[in-house]
Amino acid sequence: MKRFIPYLLCLPAIIYLAIFIGYPLIQAFVLAFTSRSGGISLENFRYILSSQGFKEAFLNTIIISGIVIPLQIILALLLSLFINSRFKGYTMLLYIISIPLALSEITAGLMGYSIFSSMGFLNKLLLTMGVTDKPIYFFGYAYKFREFIVIILSELWRSTSLVFVILLAGLQAIDREYTEAAEVDGATPWQKFSKITLPLLRPSLLSALLLRTTFAFQIFGNIWILVGRDIPVLAGEAYYWQTEIRNPNYASTYAIIIAAITIIFAFLYLRTLRSPHLES
């Protein structure tokens, strides 16, 4: 009897996940592989994958993450090194950098809007300083490039905090004795960083990178609230097909594509995280 106890304790959670993730996941596959006539086919995938909407959404998702992720890794690295030097009052700054973690994607989008809307802060500033005499429009289908810039800034602002806390956790786990020993041996700050801190931070950097990449393919709320479908992204298309066209089959096809991409990255993530232990 006793050896069943751990299984009994885990069972409720597993059953729940099986019912509310496993079963719907199977249903998502069924929806995605059911054609309009009701048979099982690849029709939906063929339609979606060859549609202009998908190509644009896929490309946009790649471009946005391709710009945002490298920038935010650098930014977060600088921030975490700065905070980890533990100057007086660093805890307050730590909280402020963490605030975007607490905000929903929509809230973050709206906060970006307060700067870039046609009567937002930036335009008010430029108008009163006389730099322009009419507001600069950042939104609208005709200003797609500007919309891109706003989205990238907003996403950078929102999601850098996540990378920051992961890297800070990694930095805090590094034994200070290493850098102190290097200091005794006369290492310069740059040598200490590049020869000790950076290699030891590698697992955190990798995990931040892969976690952010998986999340990047789910980006939705801030783009939807800022520009709608002017700049389509994968999750936005799934949402559009479900709520506006009421086509659960196409919506599920998009969802399955997102899931497939995510699972590939999640798998890579788990493997790279495990490998350091296997090596040692």
Binding site: L9, C10, Y16, T107, F121, L211, Q218, Y239, L270
Partner: protein
């Protein structure tokens, strides 16, 4: 010199992170006429009209209540379902433990949006669509893996010897857990619950797909923002941001620990 750089960087960081937040708060309480006046960067008067209108006349209050209900139900459910599993993972060695951990980790990175559409069709068959409980059940599957992971990291910090000592004194294992381990784990588990609350409070995709009239706050905002003027958009941003920011403030020292967990 070092001090100078610290102050300089701190100011830059504060400006980058706080400017959008402060502006949103400011414009949410700026009278409409002043907001649309291009010569006014700083309004000369403030008003709570937009926030009040939004909550009372435009129905956001109902969504606030629904959001809170959804979050509370999913926290309670994932607590009841998840903490026993956390306990088993920490205190017992058993076959398949690694697979269970892997499963939990995978479900945590799994995009919940995938199950939104099929869940809706399932709920419609069960006549559960557009209900508070339907969203809460979906959010539970997002919060539960998180709760198991965080719960196990909290329980690891409590020495097993405490339970053993209590058992020597004649308590059963279950009693020892309830009387000794759980009270000691309470601060950590409370922090986990607060972060779980914020996760559910912020979730938009699934809520927006599952509900039509009983919308959570983010679902309400994403459906109404297009038709509202700027000041009302900012007001809705404030209503969503304030509770989350307050909650995260209370658990700020746990945030790094929580995300440090993603390394294990």
């Amino acid at each position: 010199m070092r001090k100078f750089y610290i102050i300089l960087f701190s100011i830059l960081i504060l400006a980058w992170f706080l400017t959008p937040i402060l502006l949103t708060f400011l414009y949410a309480v700026t009278p409409e006429s002043e907001y649309y006046n291009p010569d006014k960067i700083i309004p000369s008067s403030l008003t709570f009209k937009h926030i009040k209108d939004l909550l009372i006349i435009l129905g956001a209050w109902k969504s606030v209540i629904i959001s809170v209900q959804v979050a509370l139900i999913s926290i309670v459910l994932s607590f009841i379902l998840g903490i026993p599993a956390s306990y088993a993972i920490v205190r017992y060695a058993f076959k398949g433990k690694d697979s269970i951990r892997l499963l939990i980790l995978l479900t945590r990175t799994f995009p919940l949006m995938v199950v939104a559409v099929p869940l809706l069709t399932i709920y419609m068959r069960l006549n559960l669509n557009d209900t508070v409980i339907s969203v809460a059940l979906a959010h539970t599957s997002m919060v539960l893996p998180f709760m198991v992971l965080l719960g196990s990291s909290v329980i690891t910090t409590i020495p097993e010897t405490f339970e053993e000592a209590a058992m020597v004194d004649g308590l059963s294992r279950f009693q020892a857990v309830i009387r000794i381990t759980l009270p000691l784990a309470l601060p950590g588990l409370t922090a986990a619950s607060i972060i779980a609350f914020v996760m559910s409070w912020n979730e938009v995709f699934v809520s927006a797909i599952l509900t039509l009239t009983n919308r959570t706050l983010p679902a309400y905002v994403i459906n109404t923002a297009y038709a509202s003027t700027d000041v009302y958009k900012f007001a809705s941003g404030v209503i969503m941001a304030v509770p989350a920011m307050v909650f995260i403030f209370f658990v700020r020292k746990y945030l790094v620990v929580v995300w440090g967990l993603s390394l294990k």
